[in-house]
């Protein structure tokens, strides 16, 4: 590991004229700029005006880079990377009711979407059915899904044997249970079902956005380990765990902190699986990651390259595993909403393109690009289509996929990758000293660090040290034509109709079977040798609703409560 302040020792240069030309450049540079600007990236790393052989040299090639699909993984996790197979264009989709979701999904698939995702309504995230919350909040931020019937409608046009499905799902994993029940119904073997439970990282919800916070920290831990165990055995192409840095960076963590906390969470999940008797060689290939990509272009590229390298070392050195399927740091990325502005919203299209490019050069496996109107409202259909088209343009017009890791070997990118790596490892050591990620979250340490970084970032905005076009610079008269059209909210009639269908669903199922299935969840919760998720799947099959399953699980496992501190 290189030292943060001086990542690579200066090499003995055999470059005739280097010293002299370098000195001349420095004196010309100083003459032109006067006292040098103090430039730091968001993670606090000092950025020099020029990088040369002094900071990084090709002599370090095999130590720092190697080849794609090989340790140290800097250049990507597969030998062919995007030249062989482009990333999956996976947009979060979720609005209104299942029928509306189905129609929006169809339109986006026609625009070039290559993978499905379901973003559920906030009522769902909090563990409620539609009839348990104020109707005005239904379907505004995601699709309302309560029953297997709803899932059937949402995925009516999707071939579950072919299309990968990304579910916004957390303990007790009712969405995944519904998907598996639906596959059974359509005679699609579970061995063909593929996709990700992309909100399964309960630790990230505890420290950052507090969505999907349904069970106590300990209860979520138990349910998640059982879920990983069950799906690893029964649904081999499913990714039960997506370890999320995105929430933490959106909540204010610096890019280096977000990567560090995510890696610490992944270690925690792996340790928990091992403690539960699972074989890491079987579990780790199903781990995936999910990162925020901000507009701090080179910093994000370096963050992702460094993270890949550190994960490879953790798996090899800490867990003693050499299987490449375990060492590969597969990740999804989402462009950062924090960088988007309400002012002059069309400018966000440019921001999203730059963020997306950082993620692509960082070696992502799938990508969500934000819609330009996300600082104003949930995405409108037109804006969502521009976001998907942005991915198609970057992938098919710009030639970004022609060369693997095209920035590899750049003096700046390699130096910064080393420096970000050192900063990430520094933060990881703080978490390790606090007893690991679970203990650090339980004690509120991670939450405090994120809050402090959020404040630092905001102070830089306030002081004008950070430019935001349209906000603290280049402020212009707003053109009303740039504002998105009003969202089509659910009418009272639509809500009533959905609630009536939920009521009818509850009436037509076998009440005795539902009660028995919910009781089985409670019994399994009390028995450490039982698999809890197996009982969730059985309850969905029996017709239990999402809210009923969450309520029963919460009764026995305790409710979630973020450690609140302002």
């Amino acid at each position: 590991m290189a030292d943060a302040s001086n990542p690579t020792p200066p090499v003995q240069l055999a470059l005739p004229g280097f010293e002299e030309a370098g000195a001349r450049w420095r004196s010309d540079y100083d003459a032109q700029v006067g006292p040098d600007n103090d430039v730091h990236n968001r993670s606090g790393i000092a950025v020099e005006p020029l990088y040369t052989e002094t900071q990084w040299s090709g002599e370090r090639y095999m130590d720092d880079l190697g080849f794609p699909g090989q340790a140290p993984w800097t250049r990507g996790i597969y030998a062919s990377m995007h030249r062989g197979r482009a990333w999956a264009r996976r947009q979060l989709v979720g609005m209104r009711l299942p029928n509306d979701y189905r129609a929006r999904l169809k339109a986006l698939l026609d625009s070039g979407l290559t993978a499905v995702s379901i973003a559920p309504c906030n009522s769902f995230m909090r563990g409620f059915d539609a009839d348990e919350v104020d109707p005005v909040l239904l379907g505004t931020c995601g699709v309302v899904i309560n029953t297997l019937d709803d899932m059937r409608t949402c995925l009516d046009d999707v071939d579950l044997a072919k299309m990968s499905v990304n579910l916004g799902d957390n303990a007790p994993f009712t969405l995944t249970a519904m998907l598996l029940a639906l596959a059974e119904e359509r005679s699609v073997p579970w061995t063909l079902v593929s996709g990700t439970s992309n909100q399964s990282d309960y630790l990230s919800h505890y420290v950052a956005n507090h969505m999907f916070l349904r069970l106590s920290l300990a209860g979520a831990r138990r349910m998640t380990t059982d879920f990983i165990d069950y799906t690893t055995r029964q649904v081999p192409r499913w990714n039960p765990l997506s370890v999320v840095g995105q929430h933490m960076q959106q909540a204010g963590a610096t890019p280096a902190e977000a990567m560090a906390f995510t890696l610490c969470s992944a270690i925690q999940y792996a340790e928990d699986c091992r403690a539960a008797g699972l074989e890491l060689e079987e579990v780790l290939p199903r781990f995936s990651f999910f990162f925020d990509v901000s507009i701090s272009f080179f910093e994000e590229i370096a963050k992702l390259r460094a993270g890949r390298r550190i994960w490879g070392r953790i798996v090899r050195d800490r867990f003693g595993i050499d299987d490449p399927r375990c060492l590969r740091f597969r990740f999804h990325a989402q462009t950062s909403g924090v960088d988007l502005t309400r002012q002059q919203p069309l400018n966000n299209i440019a921001r999203v393109a730059v963020q997306a490019m950082a993620g692509i050069f960082g070696g992502l496996q799938s990508l969500h690009t934000d819609s330009y109107d996300e600082a104003l409202s949930s995405p409108t259909e037109k804006a969502a289509r521009v976001a998907v088209a942005t991915q198609a343009i970057l992938c098919e017009e710009a030639g970004l996929t022609d060369v693997i890791d095209p920035l590899g070997g750049s003096y700046y990118v390699e130096t910064l990758t080393n420096e970000m790596e050192a900063e990430i490892e520094r933060v990881m050591a703080l978490v390790a000293a606090a007893g690991g990620m679970y203990a650090a979250v339980d004690a509120g340490l991670v939450q405090r660090m994120i809050g402090e970084s959020a404040r630092r970032f905001q102070d830089e905005m306030e002081s004008g040290a950070r430019t935001m076009v349209g906000v603290n610079a280049y402020v212009a008269e707003e053109d009303p034509a740039d504002r998105p059209p009003p969202l089509r909210r659910l009418s009272r009639g639509e809500t009533d109709d959905f609630l009536a269908r939920l009521d009818a669903y509850k009436k037509r199922r076998d009440g005795g079977a539902v009660t028995a299935a919910l009781d089985a969840i409670a019994r399994a919760a009390a028995d450490p040798s039982a698999n809890l998720f197996e009982q969730v799947v059985a309850a969905v099959r029996a017709g239990a609703t999402h809210g009923e399953i969450c309520t029963r699980a919460r009764e026995v496992l305790g409710a979630g409560d973020p450690r609140v501190a302002a």
Binding site: N122, C141, H205, L340
Partner: protein, 156 residues
């Protein structure tokens, strides 16, 4: 003007009392970056801040406002929870706190602004609003509310 509240307040030499603000979230959303930041800027400006986690019930917010003698309520909404604010304002009025200004910050679509203003929301802060801008705005609203509460009325 509720005279009981007026009397209670007048015994506390309000000019010397730091402004007391409740920062909270109602509804279903949990994102708290904005509410935590605003709370920290208000504290740094010398105000007393009562901060709650997300998902507070409207009744609970009203009860807190009564118990804590809150002078202004700041609600953070990133995901449609602002649609519940008219209900909150009604509940505050029913509890005799109709004069407590309510401020909303976060993502409020253009078409909902009118709804909130008509319901009595004193101010709406959007993404891009600065911490100091919010601090000064809140201070102004509280001073105006204090002035109104102590202005001699023509009847007396």
């Amino acid at each position: 003007m509720d005279s009981a509240i007026n009397t209670a307040r007048s015994q506390r030499s309000p000019a010397e009392r730091p402004p007391k603000v409740l920062i909270t979230k109602i509804g279903l959303d949990g994102h708290d970056r904005g509410s935590r930041l605003v709370a920290s800027y208000l504290r740094d400006a010398g105000m007393e801040v009562v901060y709650t986690g997300p998902w507070q019930a409207i009744d609970h917010v009203v009860a807190l406002a009564v118990e804590e003698d809150i002078e202004l309520i700041g609600l953070s909404s990133l995901a449609t929870d602002h649609m519940l604010v008219p209900q909150l304002i009604e509940a505050l009025a029913a509890a005799g706190l109709g004069e407590v200004p309510v401020v909303v910050g976060g993502i409020v679509p253009d078409e909902d602004e009118r709804l909130l203003c008509d319901a009595g929301v004193a101010r709406i802060y959007h993404p891009g609003s600065g911490g100091h801008e919010i601090v000064e705005g809140i201070r102004g609203l509280i001073e105006a509310a204090r002035d109104a509460a102590f202005a001699p009325t023509t009847e007396s």
